[in-house]
């Protein structure tokens, strides 16, 4: 019984570490992307930072756009990560303010990722529309 318990605890700890790093690797790729004026206008985002609490709203807008077919996996992974961060923030806020600050920063990154995903989908929708108009002509 000792060996399975040991494996269970270590695996759970390492799973969290791998999962956080994996999600950060997805978020890091979106960090280098500038938000277009179009998406800023649609979402009302004015500064460089996107508020942590905007994630759900941005994700709703993403779902309203036609799927481009290649971003579902990363959106799901980041959505799960955001949910996990919410739980950690609620638990850590009264006990570990430094951890709560870190989760807030991570949640902001998730929101920025959602804004970039929305930007891509809007561009995809416009391309589709342009193509349809061109086909009709």
């Amino acid at each position: 019984m000792i060996i399975p318990a040991f494996i269970c605890v270590i695996s759970a700890g390492l799973f969290l570490q791998f999962f956080i790093s994996y999600c950060r690797s997805i978020l890091a790729t979106s960090r280098s992307v500038e938000l277009s004026d179009r998406v800023r206008e649609v979402t009302g985002i004015e500064s460089e930072h996107v508020a942590a609490g905007d994630f759900a709203r941005l994700l709703q807008l993403v779902r309203l756009c036609p799927e481009s077919g290649d971003d579902q996996t990363e959106i799901r992974a980041v959505g799960t990560y955001y949910g996990l961060l919410n739980v950690i923030e609620r638990i850590s806020r009264p006990m570990a303010p430094a951890l709560a600050t870190w989760t807030e920063h991570e949640r902001e990154s998730c929101s920025y990722f959602a804004a970039v995903a929305l930007d891509r989908r809007i561009s995809y929708s416009r391309d589709l529309f342009t193509q349809q108009v061109a086909d009709r002509l």
Binding site: P4, S11, L14, F15, Q17, S21, Y22, S25, T29, R31
Partner: protein, 234 residues
């Protein structure tokens, strides 16, 4: 206990993703560059077909299906070790230590199998099935440790190849989730027919989904600073 629609959906999705990774590798002309990955996914897809045939012929609760399931899973886990070896080779490509990596991995694999056999040898009543579960748990845990060491080396070497980083992290997630689930199953056998029944197939979908995403979406020349991936509370 029978399989429901959810299990069949997961099974089909898993098979399609595994086949998708092989097609992606062939179309992207990286089949030989990531040979162990491609072969693993090809074998995983074939194993899925074999398990389905076995299920149709013998039924979900039959011994034949159980042994096919555990032993093909064990073989696939051993194949995953070759994936880990290839990842080590990719990470240490400039240090020319491939021979040592292969020897160390083979030795570790033999020790793990021997340790699992020694543990079960003391409890001979259901040797084969218990051995398969014990071996699965230990192999996956050794996989977790090896992947974690590789991840540590990647951080230390300041590796920047996004594709390599994501392949390693996806494998780490898969190994740790499976090892943890096997260990939970050993600790609480009652959970097998409830929660853990759905966890195993879901975890099985993760690896082909993550690799398909990496091969399809992340270009070979994409770069990433590893320092940004380590979680530190400020």
């Amino acid at each position: 206990m029978q399989l429901g629609p959810f299990d069949y959906v997961i099974w089909i999705v898993s098979f399609l993703l595994e086949a998708g990774v092989v097609v992606c590798a062939l179309r992207g002309k990286i089949f030989y560059k990531y040979l162990s990955f491609s072969l693993y996914m090809l074998c995983a897809a074939l194993v899925n077909c074999a398990q389905y045939v076995c299920l149709r012929h013998f039924g979900f609760t039959s011994h034949e299906y159980m042994y096919t399931y555990y032993y093909t899973e064990s073989l696939l886990t051993i194949m995953l070790f070759f994936v880990v070896i290839q990842l080590y080779q990719h990470a240490f490509v400039e240090m020319r230590v491939s021979r040592y990596i292969r020897s160390a991995a083979a030795l570790l694999l033999i020790i793990t199998a021997g340790f699992s056999y020694a543990v079960i040898h003391q409890n001979k009543d259901h040797l084969t099935s218990r051995f398969a579960v014990e071996l699965g748990q230990n192999l996956y845990f050794v996989g977790v440790v090896l992947t974690y060491l590789l991840w540590g080396a990647i951080l230390k070497l300041r590796e920047t190849r996004t594709r390599l980083i994501q392949l390693v992290l996806a494998l780490g997630i898969y190994f740790s989730a499976t090892a943890g689930t096997y260990a939970l199953r050993n600790l609480f056998p009652g959970l097998e027919s409830t929660i853990l029944k759905s966890v195993f197939p879901l975890v099985g979908v993760w690896l082909p989904a993550a690799w398909a995403y990496t091969f399809f979406k992340v270009p070979e020349d994409a770069r990433l600073a590893t320092a940004r991936l380590v979680a530190r509370a400020r």
